[in-house]
Amino acid sequence: MSDLVLPSRFARWFAARGWQARPHQLEMIEAAGKGEDALLIAPTGGGKTLGGFLPSLIDLADVAGGGPKRPHRLHTLYISPLKALSVDVARNLMTPVAEMALDILIETRTGDTPVSKRQRQRDRPPDILLTTPEQLALFCASPNARAFFGDLERIIIDEIHALAPQKRGDLLSLGLATLAQWAPGASRAGLSATVSDEGGLARWLTPQGETPAFARIVRGSEGPKPQIDILSSTERIPWSGHSARHAMGEVYAAIKQARLTLVFVNTRAQAEATFQALWRLNEDGLAIALHHGSLAVEQRRKVEAAMASGQLKAVVCTSTLDLGIDWGDVDLVIQMGAPKGSARLIQRLGRSNHRLDEPSRALLAPANRFEHLECEAARAAVAEGVLDGEPLRAGALDVLAQHITGRACGEAVSSDDLFAEVTQAAPYAGLARSEFDRVLEFCSTGGYALDNYERFRRLIRNQDGLWQARNARVAQRHRMNVGTIIEAEMLRVVLSSPVNGGGGPRSGGGGTPPSSLPRLREDKPRTPPASGGRKTMRRWGRSLGEVEEWFLEQLVPGDTFVFAGQILEFQGISENAALVTRSSDSEPKVPSYNGGKFPLSTYLAKRVREIAHDPAQWSVLPDQVRDWLTLQQEKSRLPQPDDLLVETFPRGGKHYLVCYPFEGRLAHQSLGMLLTRRLERLRMRPAGFVANEYALAVWGLRDLAGVDMDALFSEDMLGDDLDAWLAESPLMKRTFRQCAVISGLIERRFPGHEKTSRQVTFSADLIYDVLREHDPEHILLQAAWRDAATGLLDIRRLGEALKRVKGNIHSINLPRVSPLAVPVLLEIGREPIYGEAQESLLADAADDLVKDAMANG
């Protein structure tokens, strides 16, 4: 620990507030003084942000004596995953700066910053600039950035655990490697409250050389243990579903008693459903608001402001409020449904009681019987301080492509220097030169085996042998497409009314939630040029937010659904908007859309397996859940920690196979794809499958009891079967599409107009098919394959599971469905089904046609 003394001005400031500098804050100052990179791990409320900035403030206080005419130079770059977080931190920093009367210029720069301000920032930089990874990537792709960063002393990366495991983290790591060339003296600080892989993150933070290098780890003292309760409802606990609707009365009661509650849910659909359900109970007229990423920005800003000013009683929210922005004096966090990971739970817990000396309080509301086990597992993990979290992985090649192109768009660069630079970034430390060269060639000509694009090169070598963009247009277009966040295709949801009056918006009755809090005024209506498909002209009202296009495509006019806290009637799609009206239905016809599901973390899955197999641990569970497990024990068998239980049984004229790997929905879906392929080959005629977090059900027309389960579940399914299946997998196509967009093969934005995302989706699928057939070794296919293995398909996790249960497959033939199988079977019809489903769907529809004959037959 450090015995460093704070400069007197700072010591006085701490004293005036009745504070003392915390040891970890002093250690951060010491590390910065030595030019060391440091990873600060401290709980929320532990003075983490100040710990990151104190070294900069002390430095700048020394130079700031030069008076108002002092030329400002960029001293500190702060990077966070959220624009809103940068804005919030800037505001918080102003307090010590103002109170110590420091002459320090602090500014933010995000996607929303106007061009004039950006230009001014480049000419006259602030001392401290707060920004996002995408903005750093933009700098790297711009001329003269080297000079801009020339005086940089310090880089602070906030919520580093959230960035590092993602492609955004890959992009940031490459940007940091570039900064290390431009400002070799700048030291780095990483800030986080929830780090699962400390060593990995300490390495991620610091430049790599011949041998692995690690940042110093600085630890804040831990606060009191959080108080976590699990809501054990007196109502009937459902078998499946994720809404926790049965417990809503108890949730409402808890909100009523608390000062300000954050009600976290895992998906936007759940947010909508929970918001509706709470308002149905809201006899007291509590100010309950809604906040999620699809809502219009103004609406979110208003909710945040209302929270900060103490006008709200509760906010139903998704992960948009996970990260360290503190809008109000939250004293209770309610998690609807299982938290899916202990790190996520701790992160959300940190939103309540932002004072280190008081425990934060949380109430978990399991949505179904199985989630009771998950919640118990999560509570135990938090009590033991065990964190899971996304594992760090090797850097993605599509991101590397984006960075290489970006660097060549900024300044001419030699391939040798660039290779040395990118391999300093920890995710790319193991990158082979040959692979780097292939990616560089991809950036330049597309890197195709059919060498046809020499004359269309995007990157060229100048007379000095340095790589640069072919022309200003290439560079401009690259800069418009920087970033790694590929949103699902979204359509705006716009309130509308028929042009000639008739059935205007219904006014809200008692117990009806307001559309937002506070209510927004209606924008001036305007009439769109055309209304697609339907001849009635509709007047456009205000935009409520955005919804995934695929969800809207399932709807036919007249369908009702919940969005932005209201029940809406779908009228049709026009241009890039879905036109809706307010509905008087009390229940929406289309219940939900299932975006943004988190998979159960491997760590929690393991704990759940342990609880499930051991009746001694069931005492904490409600009777209904205990009875369910006991019944399973009697009728079938309990899954053991290291085996795989496989049940077969007939039901409703079909034969089912249900297995319980506990590896999360994604891995189970992949397993389902592979099993059905094998069963087809065995002529077992599988007809479909459905997965949930802990089980997979496959059904077909033949009894599956006689199948050799060891052979069926053998690891070798991850070889040829996987390759063959991937060829057609829509998940693989989606992964490829992301790679194509991130790598710059497909540009989303052009000067002047934006390509609609539907066009991108469609052509990316076609490109995938063509590339796979004619250039199967292409670097982008390899990139997509690697992504799929760790991402949407979770092949890595599936592989580990299959290895674990090898030789321990316990199959049991039952006369009827087992208690444990009920929840996954209830998912049928609710979850998308896979495999042959598309073909069967067509055949069924065509059958229907044969019955009532085509009009023109």
Partner: protein, 231 residues
């Protein structure tokens, strides 16, 4: 699992009384004239994008030609009629790879008659690949052209609109033949050509309603009535 996705007993498709056979490749075979109709090949679309700065894989032309060649063989067609937009743009001829150019010329020579109908992307298809060029063509009771006409046109078969349909439920949108029994729009045949919902205003206005669709599945072409089409 072929049983699950059982094929329809060769349903008959007629346009204005003429029997036609929607082929799984996206081509339409007219047995009476031993003619194979294809629309919107969009050859060299990939390289057109490359010239514009997006380096799409340069294999679309060879894939499209190969599929067309297979369809000709499978149907035993003597005549091939390309319903316009066969080439993505006027410069396609200058960008096409030599190998692909030879394959295409060979394919044109391999049939008795090859007719290019003019499209909006290729008002003057290049002459060097052979075949003859016409603005439109009458074939028995059928009228073949690139763009659908605005007024009633019984027997018209065209391309241009790239129809695609999705069966109500959770499926994906797939390319299809769109028809009301008196006229028909062919799906785009080109490897990089996209699709437009048959419920889009542009297609609705051709038929005055949502047309029925012969949807290109993985294993077969499925006739789907309009009421089962969601988008």
């Amino acid at each position: 699992m072929a049983e699950a996705a059982k094929k329809i007993e060769e349903p008959v498709c007629r346009v204005n009384g003429v029997t036609v056979v929607p082929h799984l490749s996206g081509a339409l075979y007219v047995p009476e004239f031993s003619a194979l109709l294809v629309a919107d090949l969009h050859l060299e679309k990939g390289s057109a994008f490359a010239a514009g700065g997006q380096l799409l894989p340069p294999y679309d032309t060879r894939k499209t030609i190969a599929r067309l060649s297979e369809a000709i063989t499978a149907c035993g067609a003597q005549t091939v009629i390309a319903l316009g937009d066969s080439f993505h743009d006027r410069d396609a001829d200058h960008r096409i790879h030599d190998e692909d150019a030879e394959t295409l010329a060979g394919l044109v020579r391999s049939v008795a008659d090859w007719i290019w109908i003019e499209g909006n992307h290729d008002p003057e298809p290049p002459a060097r690949f052979g075949g003859r060029t016409v603005p439109e063509l009458a074939l028995g009771g059928l009228m073949l052209r690139h763009e659908p006409s605005a007024e009633d046109a019984p027997g018209e078969i065209c391309g241009h609109l790239h129809p695609a349909a999705k069966v109500a439920g959770r499926g994906r949108r797939l390319r299809c033949f769109a028809t009301d029994g008196t006229r028909m729009i062919l799906p785009a045949f080109g490897a990089y050509a996209g699709g437009l919902s048959v419920r889009d205003a542009a297609i609705l206005s051709v038929f005055g309603r949502c047309p029925d669709a012969w949807v290109l599945g993985r294993d077969a072409v499925y006739p789907i009535p309009a009421k089962r089409i969601s988008g």
